[in-house]
Symmetry: C3
C-alpha cells in the first residue's frame, strides 16, 4: 500500500468513526432512523461543509462525494442492527475517531492554503473541519458541545493544523510535514485519553449534558 492509498484508507476509517459517534448519540437520544442517519451524516461531513462554504469551494465536497453518505449509512445500519457489537468495538472506534480528527485538521488546513487563503484562516478552518461535525451533532441533540467542555480534543486539532501551516510557511516538504502534523495531533489526543488530561476550567459550572 503506497502513501496515498494509506492516506485514503485512513481518511475513510476516520469518517466512518465520526459517523459512528453521531449514530450512537442519535440512537441514545431516541431519534428515528432518519434522525440517526442525518446526525451520522452531519458528523461525517459537517465540518468540511462549513470549511468549504467559508473558502468558496461550492458545492461542499460533503454533499457531492458519495463516500460521506455511504459512511453515514453504514454507521447507522451497524448502530441500529448491531448495537451490542458497536459497544464492543468502542475502543477501536475511539482510535479511528482520533485518526479522523488528525486527518481532518491537517487536510482542512491544506485545502484552505491550496485555495490561496492566509495562515490564520488555514489554522482556524483546519480546526473547524476536524471538530465542526461534532459541534453540529451536539447542537442538534440540544447539548453544549462536548469539545468546549472537556478533554484535549479541539486543542489537539489546533496543534495538528498549526504544525501543517507552519511547516508550509517554513518550506518543509509537503509529504513530510503532513505526516508530522497528523502524527502529532493523533499522539496528543491518544496521550490525553490515556492519561485523562484535560484543560483547566474556571468555575463551578453546569456539568449536565
Amino acid at each position: 500500500m503506497n502513501g496515498h492509498r494509506l492516506f485514503t484508507a485512513l481518511d475513510l476509517a476516520g469518517t466512518f468513526a465520526f459517523a459512528i459517534s453521531g449514530a450512537v448519540a442519535a440512537r441514545d437520544r431516541g431519534l428515528d432512523w432518519f434522525g440517526v442517519v442525518a446526525i451520522a451524516f452531519a458528523v461525517a461531513c459537517g465540518g468540511g461543509v462549513v470549511r468549504d462554504v467559508c473558502i468558496g469551494a461550492v458545492p461542499p465536497v460533503g454533499l457531492t462525494d458519495w463516500r460521506y453518505l455511504a459512511a453515514a449509512l453504514a454507521a447507522s445500519l451497524l448502530t441500529i442492527s448491531a448495537h451490542a457489537m458497536v459497544v464492543r468495538i468502542s475502543h477501536p472506534v475511539i482510535i479511528f475517531d482520533s485518526i479522523g480528527l488528525a486527518l481532518f485538521a491537517v487536510t482542512g488546513a491544506q485545502k484552505t492554503m491550496i485555495l490561496g487563503h492566509d495562515a490564520e484562516a488555514a489554522v482556524l478552518l483546519g480546526v473547524v473541519t476536524a471538530v465542526g461535525g461534532g459541534v453540529v451533532r451536539d447542537v442538534l441533540l440540544n447539548r453544549v458541545p462536548i469539545i468546549l467542555r472537556r478533554e484535549i480534543y479541539a486543542s489537539a486539532a489546533l496543534v495538528g493544523a498549526a504544525i501543517e501551516v507552519a511547516g508550509e510557511r517554513l518550506g518543509w516538504l509537503s509529504i513530510g510535514r503532513t505526516w508530522v502534523a497528523v502524527a502529532s495531533c493523533f499522539a496528543l489526543r491518544c496521550l490525553a485519553l490515556r492519561y485523562k488530561w484535560s484543560l483547566p476550567r474556571f468555575s463551578g459550572g453546569d456539568d449536565s449534558p
Copy 2:
C-alpha cells in the same frame, strides 16, 4: 389560472404556512415580537438560505425576495393579534405546510441541478430546502429538531426530491416530473398524518421536547 400561476400561489401558501409554524412556536415560548418575527422568517427562508450558500447563489433569495419577509410579518401579525383564529385554522395550516414541504423539496432540487451540480447534491439540498427552516426554528428554540424525532416529514421530502432528480436523469418532461414529485411528497406526508405513520426508533430515548 395557468400552471405557473398555480405554482406561485402554492409556493406562497406553503411559505406562509412555514412562517405560521415559526410564529406559533415562538409565541408559545414567550418570545417578544421581534423574536416571533425572527423565528417566522427563519422558518420561511432558512432552508433556502442554506441551500443557496451551499450552491454559491449569493446573496440567498430569502434575503432579497421581499415575499419571504412579507409572509413572516403577516404570519406574526396574525399569530399575535388573532391567536384563537390561528388555532382554529390549524388544520388548513397543516395542509399548506405539507404543500410547502413538497414544493420546497422539489424546487430546491431543481435549482441545484440548474446550477450544474450533481444528483447527490440535488437530492440532499432539496431535503435541506424543505426542512432546514424547521431545524433552525427548533435549534433557536432550544429543542431537538422535531423532524429528527418522529413522523414521516423529512423522509417525504427525500422522496419528492429523489423523484425530481431521477426524472431529470431519465429524461422525463420537466413539467410532468415536477408535478409527480410534488404530488408524491404531498400524498406521502398526508397519508402519514392521516394514519399516524412514523419511522421506527431504537431505544427508550428522551421524549421531552
Copy 3:
C-alpha cells in the same frame, strides 16, 4: 484623532466588548479554556462570518483579520485571570457592547451595499452582523438566544441598519449618514437599558435560560 481612526478605535472596543460577553458566559457555564476562547471568538466574529458567507465575500474577514482573534484572546485572558475585575467593569462593557452593536449593524449594511446587493439584504445582514455572534453564543451554550426574548437589542440594530440604507438611497453624504445611523442605534439601546424598555410578549412562556 481623525474620524477614521476614531471609527477604528470604536470598532475594536466594540469587538472586545462582544468577546467579553462570550468569555464571561462561557466561564459561567463551566467550559474549559479552549471553550472560553472559542465562544469569545464566536461572538466577536460570528455575525460577520455569516454576513460574508451570504454575500460571497470569502474567506470571511473574521477568519483572516487577526484583530478578532486577538480580541477574543485578550477578553478570555482577562475573564479567566481577573474575573473580579471584569465584574467590576461590567458597566463600561455594556457601553462598549452598545457601541459594537451600533457599528456592526451599520458597517454590515454598508458592506452588503458596497458589494452591490439590494436594500432588503443590506438591512437584514446589518442586523445579522450585529446580533449573529450573540445568537451563536447562546445556541452553543444551549439556551434560547437572549435577543429573541427580551430588551431592545436586535430592534436597535434594525433601526441603525435601516437608517444607513435609507440614507444611502436618499443620497445623503456617506460620512454623515453613518454617524447618524450609529448614534441612533446607540442612543436607542442606551435609552432602553436606562429605562428598562422592552418589546411586548404574548404568552406566559418559559422564562428559564
